[in-house]
């Protein structure tokens, strides 16, 4: 089962044909493989061509050249109904069918299998039940789409894709309108689904840290259209990750795996010491205020954080006097004057 990829692209060129003019090539010479049981995240800055690639792979847009093979058959030879039994989609666009109940919408996923009037068989009903169970959407089966929150809607759309019973699921920015807990939930769900059902799941996303945690593989699209693929950790360590998102005033911290809004170092260095989690948050506040946090204890400006019984105390030493602060807000207000002095 695991010896052939479910989807592979060979020497693929994607882009837009524009009448008689030269086609606008977004990306070329792409060689991609998607294996069963894998969750792959497609990452890249805005405008790199993530959506174009997703649209091309799902057959919504023709490839300029090259070949896409889905389950041992070429995409161009697949009839729409056959393709619909191999590949399902979750799109970014908000669907506008508020009058449909959740169950009715999930049932639409069975469209490729039902007869001319769309009557559901027992097998169809089983599949619908299973996919609603897997996505935890049974609770609101009878509710209407317009009564759901964005997070619930997105799960229903995933349930619809699952009901379509395909080996491949492509999701275009499924986490775009969701808040953080829902985003985490969605990624966890997709990760588990890939493992448990042996489906191949490809999603494009802007959630770098979530993708780093959940994806089995990353496809990184560079702004110039080059695509690098690999295990997330490898891509971080070999610098591909930074290269894809290179921009001024923007810094990828390999130690934490997060991007920081990094400004040009122009201000006073401060030595910071204390308990780890207190130092972490204080450091963030100081960095936002353009201070450089250093671990050199001989600096004239020092902050020491002492955790007393009830609450922590920040002690600021500017070389001449020391001052106690009970929270970060006070500390920052006090620090303003060393900015002005300088």
């Amino acid at each position: 089962m695991n010896d052939t990829p479910l989807l592979s692209a060979r020497n693929l060129t994607i882009g837009y044909k524009n009448g008689k003019r030269e086609p606008r090539i977004v990306s070329e010479a792409l060689n991609l493989d998607l294996w069963p049981g894998q969750l792959v995240c497609l990452l890249g800055p805005n405008g790199a061509g993530k959506s174009t690639l997703m649209r091309t792979l799902s057959g919504l847009q023709p490839a300029l050249s090259g070949e896409i093979i889905i389950d041992n058959e070429s995409l161009v030879n697949l009839k729409p109904v056959d393709l619909a039994q191999k590949l399902s989609l979750v799109l970014t666009e908000r669907i506008e069918a508020g009058n449909l109940t959740v169950r009715e919408l999930v049932a639409l996923g069975r469209t490729p299998y039902t007869g001319w009037l769309g009557t559901l068989s027992e097998i169809d009903k089983e599949k619908i039940d299973w996919s609603m169970g897997a996505t935890d959407t049974k609770r609101y089966a009878g509710r209407r789409m317009n009564e759901l929150s964005d997070g619930e809607r997105q799960k229903v759309m995933l349930a619809r894709a699952l009901a379509q019973d395909t080996k491949l699921i492509l999701l275009d920015e499924p986490t775009a309108h969701l808040d953080l807990p829902n985003r985490v939930e969605m990624m966890r769900l997709l990760h588990n689904l890939a493992r448990q059902t042996n489906k191949a799941i490809l999603l494009s996303t802007h959630e770098l840290d979530l993708a780093l945690q959940a994806a089995d593989k990353l496809w990184l699209m560079h702004p110039d259209g080059k695509l690098v693929s690999g295990v997330p950790e490898d891509l971080v360590l070999n610098g591909s990750f930074e290269a894809a998102f290179i921009k001024n005033g923007f810094h990828f911290d390999r130690n934490t795996g997060t991007f920081t809004i990094h400004k040009e170092a122009s201000s006073t260095p401060i030595y910071l010491s204390g308990k780890t989690n207190l130092v972490f948050w204080t450091k963030r506040a100081l960095q936002r205020e353009d201070y450089i946090v250093s671990d050199d204890p001989v600096l004239p400006h020092k902050i020491e954080i002492i955790e007393s019984e009830e609450s922590p105390v920040w002690i600021f030493d500017n070389g001449l006097t020391t001052k106690k602060h009970l929270n970060i807000s006070e500390l920052i207000a006090d620090l303003q004057h060393i900015k002005k002095v300088k």
Binding site: S58, G59, L60, P80, V81, D82, L83, A84, Q85, L87, S88, L89, L91, E93, R94, I95, E96, A97, G98, N99, L100, T101, R103, E104, L105, L108, G109, T111, P112, T114, W116, L117, G118, K138, A141, G142, R144, N146, Q164
Partner: protein, 354 residues
């Protein structure tokens, strides 16, 4: 959950039964009421048994009122299903045969028939042409409707914005109306009068083979619509999703367009441009039944359309008086407030399309 879906389908069944009863009731009422009033019992006897002691009543009902009531049913079914299909196809609550200029396109087809058949021809003269003439009108009006619809779809394919689409539809409709106006400008006053009478709409005067032609075409259109209800359901999620679920979107669009053009074209050819039925009835039906499933919506649109058109026809006859109001005036007077009521009270537009 199980209980709530049970009660949904139960109340749905009640609504459908209620609508069917109303449809039969208003059908009989429509035949009963008019400038000459005929007792209810006699109406039932004539309609179901085809016999009466008063030959005048028999004649009035068989030759005038029965065809008119049947025409009202055909118009109610055809226009509302055509409007429903367009609202789904364009994913726009404001789409409808008259709103997007489809009716105007059908009018252009009718005008073309009149132009080519000589300056003395009018819609009433065409009706005298017999079977071939009525087919000619249906074909031309459907082609006119299809022309406008495909123009709107062609532009709509490039532009995904609903508001722009609606503006395009209105503009194309305006162009069509202007073309008709040019023809009107160069016409004789009596033809002009005939044309203006046609624009008021009329359910009467469609008898014998004209009625067979009209009902045949509308039934074909309705069957096409019903058989594409699975595709229409998939289209609710938008074209991309529909395609990903195995739909050939181009083919589906063509089928829906064909059905819409047949329905709107044939009805407009015979009855004139009847407004508001196409846009209002799908909304009322959706609001009544609380569903977007076209397998239920299409038959129910027919029921609601039938009931409302019969009511409109009864009002237009002004029972007890000798006056008859144009049907188009009545549908607009009744339809526009209904649309406003639906939007305001049930928030229905928002729930179906956003």
């Amino acid at each position: 959950m199980q209980i709530s879906s049970q009660s949904y389908s139960n109340s749905r069944r009640l609504i459908i039964i209620g609508l069917s009863v109303l449809a039969v009731l208003f059908f009989l009422l429509d035949i009963m009421l008019g400038s000459v009033s005929i007792p209810f019992g006699e109406v039932v006897r004539i309609v179901f048994l085809g016999e009466s002691d008063t030959t005048a009543w028999l004649f009035i009902i068989e030759k005038i009122r029965l065809p008119k009531a049947i025409t009202a049913i055909i118009v109610g079914c055809g226009l509302s299903v055509s409007g429903l299909q367009m609202q789904t196809l364009f994913r726009n609550p404001l789409a409808g045969p008259s709103e997007l200029g489809i009716t105007a396109g059908a009018g252009l087809g009718v005008a073309a028939v009149m132009l080519t058949s000589g300056s003395t021809a009018s819609i009433y003269a065409i009706r005298q042409l017999g079977v071939s003439g009525s087919w000619l009108i249906v074909v031309m009006a459907s082609l006119g409707a299809a022309l406008v619809l495909s123009m709107v779809l062609l532009i709509a394919g490039r532009i995904k914005d609903n508001v722009i689409l609606l503006i395009v539809g209105v503009m194309v409709g305006t162009i069509t109306v202007s073309v008709i106006s040019i023809w009107q400008y160069f016409s004789q006053p009596e033809e002009l009068q005939e044309y203006i009478l046609w624009t008021f709409g009329s359910l009467g005067g469609i008898v014998q083979y004209h009625l067979y032609v009209l009902s045949g075409v509308v039934i074909v259109g309705l069957l096409i619509a019903f058989s594409s209800s699975k595709a229409l359901n998939a289209m609710l999620l938008g074209e991309n999703y529909a395609r990903s679920m195995g739909l050939t979107v181009g083919k589906t669009r063509f089928i829906i367009m064909a059905s819409t053009s047949l329905l709107t074209g044939s009805i407009t050819a015979f009855c004139g441009p009847i407004g508001f039925v196409g846009i209002a009835i799908p909304h009322i039906t959706r609001s009544l039944l609380g569903t977007s499933d076209h397998r239920i919506l299409i038959p129910c649109c027919c029921l609601v359309g039938t009931v409302l058109m019969l009511i409109c026809d009864i009002i237009s006859q002004m029972p007890g008086t000798q006056t008859v109001l144009p049907i188009n005036v009545v549908t607009s007077l009744l339809g526009a407030p209904v649309v406003i009521w639906v939007i305001v009270s049930r928030n229905n537009l928002r729930s179906s399309f956003s």
